[in-house]
């Protein structure tokens, strides 16, 4: 992951179509176009897994069914806890077969309709539910050496608790970190970088102009009419965190994609 940062490789989030899409073929086409564009640019495509609890198709099945090429350094799959054990193993085995090695392991934010891994499914003892920590342990135990595993860091959660969780994630085998979106310099992220100077850290940049959608994530109300320039924010992240990579969420492929190549200087 470190060479992604050294080589200025952006991590570009791509959302698969939702399960209830009424224009599935068009959405699949759009997904394939975005994926191809990211591959051509030499960036890393990061495919979400039921982001925000919206039932969406899984990254591996998108790649399989659309027969998309996989360049191992350029694909990252999000993997959360809202799967059956069978589905989890299917996803992991498909990743291995396709040469996908980067996984972002997260505790799920799935909807009620989604199944949920139980501790007994993956041999986790002494816990009531499966979080990213148990999932990391399971993957490292059952699929040793097959994956490069990343975890999320949320600077808007209570600090002590978040750092304690991060310690457990690191102990479970996490190798890189992706933060929640930053819209300004963040003292908690600064502490994270101090504490884990050798762990590649990717800062999420919020590329939507609708900043108010972040209200829930940051824990305070952002007015709907708040002015926000995503490209300026992206530049700020590069200047403030020059040793970090950048994860672009909700990137506008029509309006912003061509602008980002000149931003990381």
């Amino acid at each position: 992951m470190l060479h992604h940062i050294q080589n200025k490789i952006y991590h570009v989030e791509i959302l698969p179509p939702k399960q209830d899409s009424e224009k599935l073929e068009k959405d699949l086409e759009t997904f394939a176009d975005k994926y191809s564009r990211v591959m051509e640019s030499g960036y890393c495509a990061c495919i979400t897994d039921n982001a925000m609890g919206h039932l969406a198709f899984q990254g591996t099945e998108m790649i399989e069914e659309l027969e998309l090429p996989v360049f191992p350094e350029q694909v990252m799959i999000h993997l959360n806890t809202f799967h059956t054990k069978e589905d989890l193993d299917n996803i992991l085995n498909t990743c291995i077969a396709k040469g996908i090695k980067y996984l972002l392991v997260i505790s799920g934010d799935g909807s009620e309709r989604l199944p949920k891994l139980q501790p007994s499914d993956i041999g986790a003892e002494g816990v009531e539910s499966v979080t990213s920590v148990e999932l990391l342990k399971y993957i490292n135990r059952e699929y040793p050496g097959k994956f490069n595993l990343g975890v999320a860091f949320n600077p808007y959660e209570p600090e002590e608790h978040e750092f304690e969780k991060m310690e457990r994630k690191m102990a479970a085998g996490a190798e890189f970190i992706i933060t929640q979106p930053l819209i300004e310099k963040n003292a908690i992220v600064d502490k994270l970088l101090e504490k884990y100077p050798n762990v590649p850290t990717i800062i999420e940049a919020w590329m939507s102009k609708k900043l108010h959608l972040l209200s829930e994530a940051v824990g305070y109300e952002i007015p709907e009419d708040a002015e926000y320039d995503p490209i300026a924010a992206l530049k700020m992240i590069h200047q403030t965190y020059p040793k970090c990579g950048v994860y672009l969420s909700l990137l506008g492929f029509k309006t912003q994609y061509d602008l980002i190549k000149d931003t990381w200087v």
Binding site: Q19, L24, F57, Q58
Partner: protein, 262 residues
Amino acid sequence: MRIVVCIKQVPATNDAKIDPETKRIVREGQKAILNPFDTYALEEGVRLKERYGGEVIAITMGPPKAEAVLREAISVGADKAILLSDRAFGGSDTWATSYVLAKAIEKIGGVDLVICGKQAIDGDTAQVGPGIAAHLDYLQGTYVMAVESIADNKITVKRMHEDGYDVCELDFPAVITVVKDINTPRIPSLKGRMASQKCEIPVWKPEDIGAEVDKIGLGGSPTRVVKTQPPTARQTGTIRIEGTPQECAQALVEELRKRSIV
């Protein structure tokens, strides 16, 4: 084993509107979904097929747009789907609906097991499953929370009731209605969804299933809705508990005990 799963398209709300004139559910302008209880019926059908072999056929009675729920059924593993759609079916109550579904099941032929959700979230009657069994003279097991086994042309099920469960053995052919405890429905795969878009869904009309005209639709429905009214809203209120965290926790537990919640 041939399994038929009866499903229904319902308004995407549990706050169904009733037409004051006709006393029927207003479906116009409402987003429609697969009845949530039917997702468990479908999942159980597909699981039984995967475990014991055979095929799953999903059927529904409704307007042409109800085809959408049949495609959803295909996307999660049903092998075939049949839409029962005709103006003559319109206005059917649970008795007429179960008659139409029973006639369709007869036409399909060789059916071992019929699975329904325990009820639909729009009408909430829980009558159609038992109605099908009555029309076909099949054995029935309602409120099924688990299928224990299928062997020797028999199905063994656990039926949920208020004090626990019964274990029942039913000879095939049988009808079961299932509760949500029975399984966790799978999410459609992309492959399944794509297959569901391509599959052809036949539309059967009264004459296709040999349904007698005076037993279907409004004319064939003995139910008369004389009056409907919304239930009285429950009395709710908020109690603010003050004190230290320990005092608050203690007061909360006491309050919950007082109401027999814990």
